[in-house]
Symmetry: C2
Subunit: 202 residues, 2 copies
Amino acid sequence: MKTLPAPVEALVESFARLPGIGPKSASRLAFYLLKAPDEVSIELAKALEELKANTGHCSRCFNITLAGEELCDICLSENRSEAILCVVEEPMDVLAIERTGAYQGKYHVLMGVLSPIDGIGPDQIKIFPLLERLKLGEVKEVIIATNPSMEGDATALYLQQRIAPMGIKVSRLARGLPVGADIEYADQNTLQRALSGRQSMD
Amino acid sequence: MKTLPAPVEALVESFARLPGIGPKSASRLAFYLLKAPDEVSIELAKALEELKANTGHCSRCFNITLAGEELCDICLSENRSEAILCVVEEPMDVLAIERTGAYQGKYHVLMGVLSPIDGIGPDQIKIFPLLERLKLGEVKEVIIATNPSMEGDATALYLQQRIAPMGIKVSRLARGLPVGADIEYADQNTLQRALSGRQSMD
């Protein structure tokens, strides 16, 4: 027996297509919106429609910008060092690093990660613009902040092999125990990394 | 430093207003949509806009219907008993009970639950239409399927006191251990209910 009217079903399906939202959460959201004031769903709909129309990518670092803007706020900022460049996979990673308040250089967003199985090679992501940018000679250190995953590791290695010969220092985010972790519950790989990357206490 | 362009920020805020979506999931969804094909966000926006415009409530049981339809599919169904009525808090509860396939009567959706602290009395929810419906004399048993919460209990008690004098049998969903539960981890109240409501094995 069909129990959900088509418009509710359509919304449940649209929600369930999003990452981290299963069929149950999707119907919970739909029923919440049915009960909530009209503005809640209308505002969300407006924000969704304006998302793609009103945003673009920085032509230099590929971070998200307002549509029509050539460069993002970070690229335009004169208070940030041009000598240090942090290379990340996605725009969201920029946000995460900015939140720490511990980084004052510029960024380069790869817009993906090398993944030969998925047919993603150096030409499918923003590696060529990165190398072009480095050739200008302003950058003295590149911090590779790809994810500590198999693809992130492969991408980091590839970048290191291309960038080091240019006489630029290449580093990578430290791997080890996350703050607040319990050694007894840490997974084997993390513990191995924490051991091999042990830091001097001098 | 402002790091998110306004259109992304607006979408993150709209998502974060939904139940069960925190600020982190909200930005994950926004960045996912930035990367996903345009159709994904456009379809979701369309579904949201059509949700309220194209749905209404059944004039008899208050379940969700298509806009313009007087009665819902369940009320219209001639294969379902008119003699047994299941009273639930929300339209979503109808869906949950329908999924069991174990119920073949009709429904009445209260559209809320008694909650004096929040100023919700019998007049704020669909109790009066329920009593009017019962006066027609067709219903022989009312199953009260409000949530096993304080408000759900109070609503069930209130309904029982109003309905029993009409000569209609009133029952409530069984309370006890959920299927698959571990007795050693069951909370005290559930175990107490399971004991006092123990079922004969004859």
